[in-house]
C-alpha cells in the first residue's frame, strides 16, 4: 500500500524521479511531456512501429494464406499462369526495391551522424525508387489488362476490339451483351478460333503492343527456352485474350490472377502510402527537423519502407518464379 499520506511538502520531495526528466524536457524541445528522456521516447515510438508492422504482417498474412490455399488446391494453375508474368520486370522491380531499402537505411545512418544533406538525398533516392517501382508496375498491369489477363469472369472474355472490322461489325450487331458467359457463348460473337485466323496484316499491327516492355513476348521466349511447343507465330503469346485458345490452360486459371492482383495491388497501395511518407520526411528533413538526437520519424518511416520491401521479397518468387 502506498505511503503517500503525508503533507504536500514530503510529496514534493518524492519528486526526485522526475527531476531528470525536467532537465531533458528543457534541453530537447521534441521530447513529449510523458516521456523522461529522448531514448525513452525513441524506444516507445519504435515499439509502437514494430507493433504496427506486426499488424501489417497479419494484414498481408491473410492474403498469403489465401494464396497458399489456392496454390495447394490448383498447383497446375500456378505453374501454368506464372509464365504469363514477366520475370524481367519483376526482377528489376525487386532490385529497385532492394536498392531503395538500402538508401533508406543509409538515410537513417546519415540522420544519426547529423549529415542532413546526405540524408535528404538518400530519402530522395528512396522516393525515386518508389516511383520507379510504380512505373514498372503500371506497365505490367496495363499490359496484362490489355491482354485480358485479369480476375474473375473477365478472364474469359475475348476482346471485342482486336478482331478486325468485320468482326467488330458482328459485335455491334450482336445482341446486348448481358451476362459475361452468355456473350461469349453467343455464336454471333467472334470466337477465339476466328481470332486465330485473323489475317497476318492485323497480327503484325498488334505486335508492337505485345512486344512492349517485356510482357508476353518474353513469356514466349521463356516458353521456347523451356522446350514448350511454341510455334513461331503461336497466337497464344501474341494476341489479347489468346490464353483462351490455349488448350493447355488448366481450369480456374483466373484464380491465379485474382490473387496476383490482390496481393500486388495491396503491396502497391503500401508503396503509394510509402511515397507520401517519404515526401513528408524529405520536406521535414530539408527543413532541418532531424538530427542525431531526434530522427524518430526517419527511423520508423524506414522500418515501414523496409517491410514494404520485405513483402515484395516474398511476392516475387511466389508469383514470378514458379517453375
Amino acid at each position: 500500500m502506498s505511503t503517500l499520506h503525508t503533507s504536500q511538502a514530503t510529496a514534493h520531495e518524492a519528486h526526485g524521479h522526475d527531476a531528470h526528466g525536467h532537465g531533458d524536457h528543457a534541453k530537447y524541445p521534441f521530447l513529449q511531456h510523458h516521456f523522461d528522456t529522448p531514448a525513452h521516447q525513441f524506444d516507445s515510438a519504435k515499439l509502437g512501429m514494430w507493433l504496427f508492422l506486426a499488424t501489417e504482417v497479419l494484414f498481408f498474412g491473410g492474403l498469403f494464406v489465401a494464396y497458399a490455399v489456392l496454390r495447394s488446391r490448383f498447383p497446375e494453375v500456378f505453374s501454368y499462369a506464372s509464365h504469363y508474368l514477366d520475370t524481367l520486370m519483376g526482377g528489376v522491380n525487386t532490385c529497385v526495391l532492394i536498392l531503395s531499402s538500402l538508401t533508406m537505411a543509409l538515410a537513417v545512418r546519415f540522420a544519426q551522424t547529423n549529415r542532413t544533406k546526405a540524408m535528404v538525398w538518400c530519402l530522395v533516392l528512396t522516393f525515386m525508387g518508389a516511383v520507379g517501382f510504380m512505373v514498372i508496375k503500371y506497365f505490367e498491369y496495363s499490359h496484362k489488362i490489355h491482354e485480358h489477363l485479369v480476375w474473375g469472369k473477365s478472364f474469359y472474355v475475348p476482346p471485342p476490339d482486336q478482331a478486325g472490322a468485320e468482326e467488330a461489325k458482328v459485335i455491334s450487331t450482336a445482341p446486348a451483351p448481358a451476362p459475361v458467359a452468355l456473350t461469349v457463348a453467343n455464336p454471333a460473337a467472334p470466337s477465339v478460333a476466328s481470332l486465330v485466323s485473323t489475317p497476318p496484316v492485323e497480327a503484325s499491327a498488334i505486335k508492337p503492343a505485345a512486344a512492349a516492355p517485356g510482357g508476353l513476348a518474353s513469356v514466349r521466349e521463356q516458353a521456347t527456352a523451356e522446350g514448350l511447343p511454341v510455334a513461331d507465330n503461336d497466337p497464344a503469346f501474341a494476341h489479347p485474350s489468346m490464353h483462351l485458345a490455349d488448350p493447355k490452360m488448366p481450369a480456374n486459371t483466373h484464380l491465379f490472377f485474382a490473387i496476383y492482383y490482390c496481393m500486388t495491388g495491396l503491396h502497391g497501395i503500401h508503396v503509394l502510402a510509402g511515397m507520401v511518407m517519404l515526401a513528408w520526411l524529405i520536406w521535414r528533413g530539408a527543413r532541418g527537423d532531424f538530427n542525431s538526437n531526434y530522427f524518430t520519424p526517419v527511423d520508423v518511416g524506414g522500418l515501414y519502407w523496409h517491410i514494404v520491401d520485405l513483402v515484395w521479397i516474398f511476392l516475387f518468387p511466389l508469383f514470378y518464379l514458379i517453375h
Binding site: M1, H12, S44, G62, L63, L70, A251, L255
Partner: protein, 566 residues
C-alpha cells in the same frame, strides 16, 4: 495533487483544476489529447450506440412475439436488417471498444501511474476512426441497409441485393483500425510508461487483462480487415476467391472471419474479467486470491484464443480432422477461465463484502459467465453441436458471454469508476435495484432461449411454429424487463451528475493508483509520481466519515508494514 490527507476534507470547489474543468469549450474536447477526456468521449459514444443497438434488439424481440408478422410493416426482409444491425452495432461499435477504449483509456494510465498513454495523438485519432466507422454504418443505412448478419458470410454477403453492404464493410474495416491503434497504444504504454516501482507483477489485474486484450487487438484485427476488403472486392468485381462457382472457397472466408472473431470474443470478455478482478477484491476488501494465476491466465487465454476459431465451423463443411482438433483445443480454454472464476470465489470467501452496486454487478457476472462458459462446452462438443448449431441455444450462449459477461462487466466497471470519472456518487439504492432488474430480465430473456434452441428453434428466423410461441413471449417479456433495468441505470447515473453527492478520492477503498488522485483526477493525473505498493493490500485503509471515503491511516500502514502478506 495526489496526497490524501485525513485531516483535510476534499472539496472540489476549492480545487477547480480537474481534467473536466482544466480547459473549456467544444474544441478543448474535440482536440484533446488527454486520455481521460478521450475515454469519456468514447464512453458517451459507446453508450449512445448501445442505446441504438438495444432499440433494434427490442424490435427483434417484439417482432418475435407472435409467429409471422407482429409489428406492422416489419417484413421478413426488414427483420433480417434489424437483427443484422443489432449484431453489428453491438459487436463492432459497442462491446469491442467499450472496455478497452472507453474505460481502459480513462483508467489505464492512471492505474499505471503514467501521465498519459504513449501516443496521445494516435489515441485521439482512433476515436475519430471510431466515429468515421459509425458514420459509414449510417451511410450504409441510408443506402439501403444490409441483411448479411454481423458475420458477413459469403456467398450471401457478396450476392445480397441490399445496398449498404459495401459501406458497412468499410465501416467495420475502419473500426478495426480504431481498435488496432488502441491496442498498440496500450501495449506500448504498459511496456514503456510504467513508473519506477510498478513492476509487471505489481500491476493491477485490470491492466493485465487490458494488456492481453491489446495483444489480441493487434494480432487478430488485421485479418478481419483484409477479409472484409476481400469481400468488398468479391462483391464489386467478383474475383472468385470466396466463390465456389469460380473455384474459390467459402469455407476459407469462415476461417478468415473466425480467426479474428473468436479472439474478438476475448477482446470483449478479457477486459471484463479484469474489471471483475478489481471489483471483487476492492468491494470484498480482501486481497485478491491467486494474483499471479489470474494475471497469467489472461495471457494464456489470449494465446489460446487464436487456436480455437474452427469451433464456429463444425457444420460448415470443415474437415473432420480439423473439427476434432478445434473441439479438443476449445475444451482447454475452460481451464484458464475456470482459474479466474475459482480465484474470484476464493477471494470472496471470508471477505468483508460490501454489497455495493459494483459488487452486485460482479456477482451477476460470475453467475452469468459460469452459465455462458459451461454452455460453451456443449457447443464445443462435436456431436451436440450438430444439433445445437444455428439454434437459439447458440444465441443464448453467446449472449450470456458477450452481454451477460462482457457488457455487465463493463457496466459494473462504469459504476466502479463513475465517482472517479465524474466526481459524483450515484444512488446506491437505484443502482442496486437496476442491477437486480437487469439480472432478472437477462435470465428470463436468455435462459428461455436455451430451451428454445434445444427444442430446435433456429436462430435468425422471422417465423416459427406455434409451439415455440410461449417461450418467445417469455423471452420478449424478459427483454422488456432488462430494458427497463437499463433505463433505470441510465437515470441513476445521469441524475447523479446533477444531484449526486461529491465523491471522495477513494469512495470504495481501492488500493490501485487511480484512487490516490482526486475525483475527478487533475489534468495530468499526478503532480507527483505516486509510490507503488501492493494494490490489493487494503490493510492501511480506514473509512473516514468526514470525506465519506477511505483514507490511508499511518498507524494502520505501519502495522501492515510489520506484517507483510508474503
Amino acid at each position: 495533487m495526489t496526497t490524501i490527507d485525513a485531516s483535510r476534507p476534499i472539496d472540489l470547489a476549492s480545487r477547480p483544476d480537474n481534467y473536466l474543468t482544466h480547459t473549456r469549450g467544444f474544441l478543448s474536447w474535440a482536440l484533446t489529447l488527454d486520455h481521460k477526456r478521450i475515454g469519456v468521449m468514447y464512453m458517451a459514444a459507446v453508450l449512445v450506440s448501445f442505446f441504438v443497438g438495444g432499440v433494434f434488439a427490442l424490435l427483434v424481440r417484439t417482432e418475435l412475439l407472435t409467429p409471422g408478422q407482429t409489428i406492422p410493416g416489419v417484413t421478413a426482409d426488414v427483420y433480417n436488417q434489424f437483427f443484422t444491425l443489432h449484431g453489428a452495432i453491438m459487436v463492432f461499435l459497442v462491446i469491442i471498444p467499450s472496455i478497452p477504449a472507453a474505460l481502459g483509456n480513462f483508467v489505464l494510465p492512471i492505474m499505471l501511474g503514467a501521465k498519459d498513454v504513449a501516443f496521445p495523438r494516435l489515441n485521439l485519432g482512433s476515436f475519430y476512426l471510431w466515429l468515421a466507422g459509425a458514420a459509414f454504418t449510417l451511410v450504409s443505412l441510408a443506402m439501403g441497409g444490409f441483411d448479411t448478419g454481423w458475420t458477413f458470410y459469403t456467398p450471401y454477403s457478396t450476392t445480397t441485393t441490399t445496398g449498404g453492404v459495401i459501406p458497412v464493410l468499410f465501416g467495420v474495416f475502419i473500426l478495426g483500425f480504431s481498435s488496432i491503434f488502441t491496442g498498440m497504444n496500450f501495449v506500448v504504454t504498459v511496456h514503456k510508461l510504467r513508473p519506477p516501482g510498478m513492476t509487471w507483477f505489481r500491476m493491477p489485474l485490470f491492466l493485465w487483462a487490458i494488456y492481453a486484450t491489446a495483444i489480441i487487438q493487434v494480432l487478430a484485427t488485421p485479418v478481419l480487415a483484409i477479409t472484409l476488403m476481400l469481400v468488398v472486392i468479391e462483391r464489386t468485381i467478383n474475383i472468385g476467391i470466396f466463390d465456389p462457382s469460380m473455384g474459390g472457397d467459402p469455407v476459407l472466408f469462415q476461417h478468415f472471419f473466425w480467426f479474428y472473431s473468436h479472439p474478438a470474443v476475448y477482446i470483449m470478455i478479457l477486459p471484463a474479467m479484469g474489471i471483475i478482478s478489481e471489483l471483487i477484491s476492492v468491494h470484498a476488501h480482501r486481497h485478491i486470491f491467486g494474483y499471479k494465476f489470474i494475471a497469467l491466465s489472461s495471457i494464456a487465454i489470449a494465446i489460446f484464443s487464436f487456436l480455437v476459431w474452427g469451433h464456429h465451423m463444425f457444420t460448415s463443411g470443415q474437415s473432420p480432422l480439423m473439427n476434432t482438433l478445434f473441439s479438443l483445443i476449445s475444451f482447454s480454454v475452460a481451464i484458464p477461465s475456470a482459474v479466474k472464476v475459482f480465484n474470484w470465489l476464493t477471494t470472496l470467501y471470508k471477505g468483508n463484502i460490501s454489497l455495493t452496486t459494483p459488487m452486485w454487478y460482479a456477482l451477476s457476472f460470475m453467475v452469468l459467465f459460469t452459465i455462458g462458459g459451461l454452455t460453451g462446452i456443449h457447443l464445443a462438443t462435436l456431436n451436440t453441436d450438430v444439433h445445437l448449431h444455428d439454434t437459439y441455444f447458440v444465441v443464448a450462449h453467446f449472449h450470456y458471454v458477450m452481454m451477460g459477461s462482457a457488457l455487465i462487466g463493463m457496466i459494473g466497471g462504469l459504476h466502479h469508476w463513475w465517482p472517479k470519472m465524474t466526481g459524483k456518487m450515484y444512488s446506491e439504492k437505484l443502482g442496486t435495484a437496476a442491477c437486480i432488474i437487469i439480472f432478472i430480465g437477462f435470465n428470463v430473456t436468455f435462459f428461455t432461449q436455451f430451451y428454445l434452441g434445444a427444442k430446435g428453434m433456429p436462430r435468425r428466423y422471422y417465423d416459427y411454429l406455434p409451439e415455440y410461441q410461449t417461450y418467445h413471449v417469455i423471452s420478449t417479456i424478459g427483454s422488456y424487463i432488462m430494458a427497463s433495468g437499463f433505463f433505470l441505470t441510465a437515470y441513476c447515473l445521469l441524475s447523479s451528475l446533477y444531484s449526486g453527492r461529491k465523491a471522495a478520492a477513494n469512495p470504495w477503498g481501492g488500493g490501485s493508483l487511480e484512487w490516490q488522485c482526486t475525483s475527478p483526477p487533475p489534468h495530468d493525473n499526478f503532480a507527483v509520481q505516486p509510490s507503488v505498493g501492493d494494490c490489493y493490500d487494503f490493510r492501511a485503509l480506514r473509512w473516514d466519515e468526514t470525506t465519506q471515503g477511505y483514507v490511508n491511516d499511518p498507524a494502520l500502514a505501519a502495522e501492515a508494514a510489520r506484517n507483510p502478506l508474503h
